[in-house]
Amino acid sequence: MTELLQRPPKKDPQKRTVLPTSPPSARSRKAIAFSTAAAEGRLALQICAECDHVIYPARELCPKCWSMDLQWQDIPDGGELITETTLRTSANTYFRERMPWRIGTVRLDAGPMVLAHIHGDVGEYERVTMIARTDKSGQGVLMALPEKETANMADDKQLRALTCDPRHRRVLVTDGRTQLGQCTVNALANAGASKIFVGIARAWRPYDGSAELAAVSGVEIMPLDITDTISVNELAAEIGGKTDILINTAEHVRPGSAMQRHGILTARDEMETNYFGLMRLIQAFGPGMRGRGADGDNSACAWVNLLSVYALSNWSVFGTTTASQAAAYSLSQCLRGEFAGSGVKVVNVLFGPLEDSWRQPLPPPKVTPKRLADAIVHALRQGIENVTLGPVAEDIVRRFRDDPFVLERELMQAQQGQAV
């Protein structure tokens, strides 16, 4: 069993904050696909299309038959720990600061022998479950977990370095007025977040669920309107130094295409929340979080963006909203670049139509706010950076991977009344 992680003590104000350092991040271009799968929580290796050989580490050609036709595929996650050792010193600053550290060799059921981080509850020669995740450098790594759940398993130091577990962490939910915001708050409270700051814009307007929201354990209601630079900056001045996870639940959604709009004000409102709102949050909270990526057990660890899957390709039924979400998606990629090396993950959840008033006439299947909230907390606990949620989103992402230009044409035809 793993020792239960206790709530971190108050920070010693006389000590300098530990700055983030990174484990080795160099990877070949071929190996990027491994990290990309790991960011989705998938374990994928190259498989030779000619001889079915499973290849590790990533290579240009098959070491068995020299074929260049290597395909990335998800592989079974079982394996056996062959050897293990505990490092007690290292030339790498990141590991030096975190000694001792277990590593070992695992024989995967799929074939290859791999070098992996080893969970503290795994014994030698035991069966293991392998996970691929991105580490603090942003690159994909392998970790061997006990095959069966052990007590306090998520609290393992090495595993917690790969995840963004909300337990004992302080979270900002930027908009608590909506069902989505309130479901997210409940999911975080159940996950053991020590403090949940909940942004409420225009407190002079009443909203459904306000009494229940204020009663949730750990909740502190804060004035926050992400369309107002002053409001965002004032809140960051207050809690920016203790925001470990930021979840941007604010969105402005209106049906309509560009020519269905009369004037630009609705489109501007969409941009004010979906794009400039994110921009304001990044400018106000980003630097503090980036500097606190190694700040103890409740370090800053994750920034969560919730984006319509149509950010990938415009859907003209919600044409101008979609355009603003595409802008937000692009900005989230910019943020990933800026957070690189800080140990703070940018989690993007691409979701299909949400079950809410602005998407009320859309046909099912839709994603309920609770399901989206649960998916956020699941991604944080698992350390997953890219989430696709709901059948519509899964379908769009699959087609986007196949060919984004074909997808664009398909969505255009859908607008013309033809089935997609």
Partner: protein
């Protein structure tokens, strides 16, 4: 030009320097969190006040501080021109840039309904209430501004709009009171402390929004989100309320002042 030391303005200047005439500020601060009117979400919305710093003695401008500001014409303490409402759309000189400047400096009557509004948040000003006020303070002169004092400006947060599931609850004039002020008194304009000149539930009056519909239809002006009306005398003060000169503007945020003679408040 000869220096004239007697006359009305000279007397005013003397009274202002001596402190016999004081200036009262009837304006709320333009603050991004000050309530604006809320319409059903499928309608266009009134933009709140926003400020973005252009530079503040920094790399964007090392020696100076300035902001870009944005808002609706009807945000904060603001002026309504007749063109704001469909009933006034075809009147001459009905936009803020075309209104004769004399309208912006005029005597003002203040009808104190604060006690009634404290007891009834949906209080409606009636012709009878106005006539009772006139018995005490004299008939409202044609061409005066009339302000409804409700002390609503002393409310803050959610209590100001007082929004519930059936809409906002705040005082205002009844349709009959508006007709009386237009037809019987020919006032210049009407002002309130609430977010609009109409009552919170005025959508359910006949006609809906009588202050907007009837005042503006008759070429009268509006002022709303006023404050400090408790510092004004019932009669005898001068209202100063020039809106921004926005081309074809339907209204404008503005600084509203009142000149008050000490001792009569």
């Amino acid at each position: 030009m000869s220096k004239k030391k007697s006359g009305a303005l000279a007397a005013l200047a003397t009274a202002m320097s001596s402190g016999d005439v004081e200036t009262v500020d009837l304006t709320h601060t333009l603050d991004s969190d000050f309530p604006v009117i809320v319409l059903p979400p499928e309608f266009g919305q009134c933009a709140p006040f926003r400020a973005e710093v252009v530079s503040r003695y920094d790399e964007r401008g090392p020696g100076w501080y300035w902001q870009n500001i944005s808002m609706c014409e009807h945000t904060g303490t603001h002026f309504d021109a007749p063109i704001h409402w469909i009933s006034g759309k075809d009147l001459p000189n009905a936009s803020v840039d075309a209104i004769p400047a004399g309208a912006f400096v005029r005597p003002v009557c203040v009808i104190d309904c604060s006690k009634e509004c404290a007891e009834n948040e949906d209080f409606l000003l009636t012709p009878e209430f106005i006539q009772a006020w006139e018995k005490e303070h004299g008939q409202i002169p044609a061409g005066d501004w009339v302000l409804l004092r409700s002390d609503w400006s002393k409310r803050s947060g959610a209590a100001y709009l007082n929004m519930r599931e059936d809409g906002a609850h705040s005082p205002g004039p009844s349709a009959d009171a508006v007709k009386f002020l237009v037809e019987e008194r020919d006032i210049l304009g009407f002002g309130t402390e609430t977010v609009g000149t109409d009552a919170g539930q005025a959508a359910h009056l006949s006609p809906p929004y009588p202050a907007h519909h009837l005042f503006h239809g008759a070429g009268k002006y509006g002022l709303q989100c006023l404050r400090n009306l408790d510092q004004l005398p019932p009669t005898g003060a001068i209202l100063v309320c020039p809106p921004l000169k926005i081309k074809n503007g339907s209204g404008s945020p503005l600084r509203v002042l009142a000149l008050v003679e000490r001792g009569i408040a």
